[in-house]
């Protein structure tokens, strides 16, 4: 990973921004050098298409397209009466570039700068080779299709500044790995069926040994060596089947699993093979009559934790979120055609340790529940201003009285 962007992140960032800004300015010319490719809002797309279903700037007569998004916000939080004060956050700047090498071969990469340049990562860099719409080869750094949020996480698409807890604090979104696989879809009438299956590198022991002090799959994101080798020497399998009815809804069933621990080294057995298995269901729908958009995800995790380790690290976890977004005003406001105000609400729930204590047979805590009402304003579909109020209750492992935390968040997210 010792490549230019990691050695010179700021220079890389400024270079890309320069290209994008020039492109954006040129896009306003009558004979544009670049042309804005809007999001495809047709009904033939599934969640799995999210990586390409973004606004791009296409440079004239070249097969290259550029794009990205920026998220920034302010946050004021208080936990159990103790304020953390007011902060401003540049959560992420994401740049994506795509190139059509031939009609059947295309490449896309997504590079993300989180919290300024604190974390820089290649979230996606894959080559897609289309043999048939139902049979597309994908290889490189891919986003494992577990749930929907992991692949469809662009800030401007959401009315909430915080990402769903089930996605980022239970599942490890954004979870990228090196690997290969196939995907495709087919449709008949109003029905579309898609599938994805990949073999990639995977998790490591940190999921049951980390400073969160609980089984925590996102801890594996800290292991940058996963882009170089599989910790367990075994592939992580990720598969998903998605069904969509063009008039109603989309539902996805996904699975990700494999051995996570280093059970063997230099031919010596260090431990038994220990698996992590994840099953997720995601759905989204828009109620036509009211325009209400509903999206959600539920995930269940099983982890083989040695019985001689500590129950601090749970063997079973689950969590869910649901967003309800209600457009309340859609009209021309100032000079923005189709500007939209939305009212929204999110419910988050995560249980990091399902089960009972061996010693007392009482319920293990380590749970979080949060509710987030929100107001969002979209001057255009690609830009969203968001005001969120989040209230959460989090219990420790012993089920002691919950820590209460509330946050006001105001910010924006925009494609560019």
């Amino acid at each position: 990973m010792n490549i230019f962007i990691f050695r010179y992140p700021r220079q890389f960032l400024f270079g890309i921004l320069f290209l994008v800004i020039i492109g954006a300015l040129k896009a306003q010319d009558t004979d544009p050098l670049v042309k804005r490719i809007p999001i495809d809002t047709s009904k033939t797309l599934l969640n799995m298409d999210a990586v390409y279903n973004r606004p791009f700037l296409a440079i004239k007569k070249t097969p290259v397209a550029l794009g990205g998004y920026l998220e920034a916000n302010s946050i004021y939080s208080t936990e159990d009466g103790i304020s953390e004060g007011l902060s401003f956050q540049a959560r992420r700047l994401t740049i994506f570039m795509s190139a059509s090498i031939t009609n059947q071969i295309k490449f896309l990469t997504e590079i993300e700068f989180e919290d300024g340049t604190k974390e820089i990562g290649i979230e996606f860099a894959a080559l897609d080779v289309t043999f048939h719409p139902a049979f597309i080869f994908r290889g490189g750094i891919i986003m494992n299709p577990i749930g929907a949020f992991n692949q469809n996480h662009d800030g401007p698409k959401w009315e909430f500044i915080e990402r769903p807890d089930v996605a980022v604090n239970l599942l490890p979104a954004t979870w990228s790995n090196v690997g290969f696989g196939l995907y495709g879809k087919t449709n008949r009438g109003n029905w579309i069926v898609g599938y994805e299956i990949y073999l990639t590198n995977g998790f490591d022991n940190s999921i049951i040994d980390n400073e969160e002090n609980k089984t925590f799959l996102p801890a594996a994101k800290e292991n940058e060596e996963r882009f170089e080798e599989s910790n367990s020497g075994k592939a992580l399998i990720t598969g998903k089947i998605t069904i969509q009815n063009r008039n109603n809804a989309e539902i996805g069933f996904s699975y990700m699993g494999g051995v996570y621990n280093k059970f063997e080294e230099d031919g010596l057995i260090l431990d038994k093979k220990r698996r992590v298995d994840i099953f997720a269901i995601d759905f989204n729908t828009t109620i036509k009559k009211t325009g209400t958009y509903i999206v959600g995800e539920v995930a269940f995790i099983n982890v083989d934790v040695p019985v001689t380790f500590t129950q601090q690290y749970g063997t079973r976890q689950w969590g869910a979120f649901v967003d309800v977004v209600q457009p309340v005003l859609k009209r021309k406001i100032l000079n923005w055609n189709d500007a939209t105000f939305n009212l929204a609400a999110r419910l988050d729930y995560v249980d990091w340790n399902v089960g009972t204590f061996n010693e007392t047979n009482t319920d293990i805590g380590e749970e979080l529940i949060a509710i987030t009402p929100a107001i969002s304003f979209r001057p255009s579909a690609q830009t969203v201003f968001r005001l969120n109020y989040r209230y959460q209750w989090q219990k420790d492992i012993l089920n002691n009285p919950a820590a209460k935390k509330a946050s006001w968040l105001f910010g924006f997210s925009t494609y560019f």
Binding site: I208, D209, Q312, A339, L387, L398, N400, K404
Partner: protein, 398 residues
């Protein structure tokens, strides 16, 4: 256009009002319902050090940071959640010593059983024939006050031969001390031994002794003070810095004392009187005073821990045939009762009282007392139901 503009103004007004409204934020629990927090009057420098210690106390040890390979818990706060009492989830076992001749099982991993292990390792098993006791960690609040009580005061409280004839004969735990501890001001020695006061058997001399031992025996962490790895038995490099250990000791010394609640409630006032009348206060001494302490706010302070820091024979019902130092197997150091009513908030909503958490209620804990407390237990049994409730209400107010 005008409507839209007004709408925008309206929404932004709502936003500003909302953001400025502190009522949308969760309130802090009342101070006397929390065990954690520093004692009042620390200097800014001391508060910074307190925060460093607080952070270290909550630090989670991973394998990379030295956890284990055999251990009991992976952070200080696991056994003392919210600085309160531990729960059966982190109950631990000590074994191997049944008399004052020392622990005969040191080569088998004594005194503490590390019953958990990192992946790939096997935890310790209790050796056949070894006597043992199960223990639950105490709350750690107010320890600085207990640490600063002078040896002379403890000796004055003791009555090893029951000269006053009240059936209660507390004695200090004269014990050998490790060479790394610093003697407290005006410490008193007897036959080369000193008064130790921390731990269920009162076997730890001071908070450095207690903390270093806990890092080592609970988490499997070596320090400059306790350099032997519990698994290999070999001297290993310190896995936490001496500064970190000292910061944790400072944190423990400067945690505030629990604050009683509803002190003017009539039942609680009555319960307080009953507490003394039935001789609970003979061991659970309501009032102590600190001597000199290098931490100024701890010096010469009167405080209310409900302990005498002495060893008492608690009878056969509480004799686990295990001991430490020179305590007898039936002897236990009087545990402070301050913070008793807040125990549930650290123990998952239920009481787990006595040294091993066997009592699920205060009444049950009272009725388990024996030995020197036998008469107090009988006195309690003879109280009316109302008086019992008043006593329990008083204890819950501490």
């Amino acid at each position: 256009m005008k409507i839209s503009f007004n709408l925008i103004i309206g929404i932004f007004t709502v936003m500003l009002l909302a953001i400025s409204c502190e009522k949308t934020m969760p309130l802090s629990p009342v101070e006397n319902e929390l065990l954690d927090g520093p004692i009042e009057g620390l200097t800014i420098e001391q508060q910074i050090r307190f925060l460093r210690g607080d952070e270290a106390f909550s630090d989670v040890f991973t394998i990379e940071k030295g956890l284990g390979p055999i251990f009991v818990a992976n952070q200080c706060a696991s056994c003392h959640p919210g600085d309160g009492k531990g729960s059966p989830f982190v109950r631990f076992t000590r074994f191997g010593q049944s008399d004052t001749l020392g622990n005969q099982y040191l080569d088998f991993g004594a005194p503490q059983l590390q019953h958990k292990a990192i992946p790939g390792f096997e935890p310790e098993q209790l050796p056949a024939g070894a006597t043992f006791t199960n223990l639950i960690a105490p709350a750690v609040t107010g320890l600085g006050f207990l640490d600063a009580v002078s040896d002379a005061d403890l000796i004055a409280l003791s009555d090893p031969n029951d000269i006053d004839g009240d059936g209660i004969s507390g004695r200090p735990h004269w014990n050998n001390i490790p060479d790394y501890v610093e003697l407290r001001p005006n410490s008193i020695s007897k036959n080369g031994k000193y008064i130790s006061r921390f731990g269920k058997k009162g076997a730890a001399y001071d908070l450095l002794h207690q903390t270093s031992g806990a890092y080592n025996q609970d988490i499997g962490i070596t320090t400059l003070f306790e350099p032997f790895d519990p698994f290999s038995g070999l001297v290993e490099d310190p896995e936490v810095s001496t500064q970190t250990v000292n910061d944790v000791v400072f944190y423990l010394k400067t945690l505030k004392a629990p604050i009683p609640r509803d002190v003017n409630d009539n039942d609680i006032l009555a319960g307080n009187q009953i507490f003394s009348q039935i001789q609970c206060a003979s061991c659970h001494m309501p009032t102590l005073q600190t001597g000199y302490s290098p931490i100024e706010v701890l010096s010469y302070k009167v405080f209310y821990p409900y302990t005498d820091l002495l060893l008492h024979d608690m009878g056969q019902g509480l004799n686990d045939d295990y001991t430490e130092g020179f305590a007898l197997t039936s002897e236990w150091r009087t545990p402070p009762l301050w913070g008793l009513g807040l125990s549930k908030d650290a123990q998952g909503g239920s009481y787990f009282l006595m040294h091993d958490g066997r009592s699920l209620s205060i009444q049950s804990a009272i009725l388990i007392h024996g030995g020197e407390a036998e008469q107090s237990k009988i006195n309690y049994s003879q109280l009316s139901e109302t008086e019992k409730q008043q006593l329990i209400k008083f204890l819950e107010s501490l």
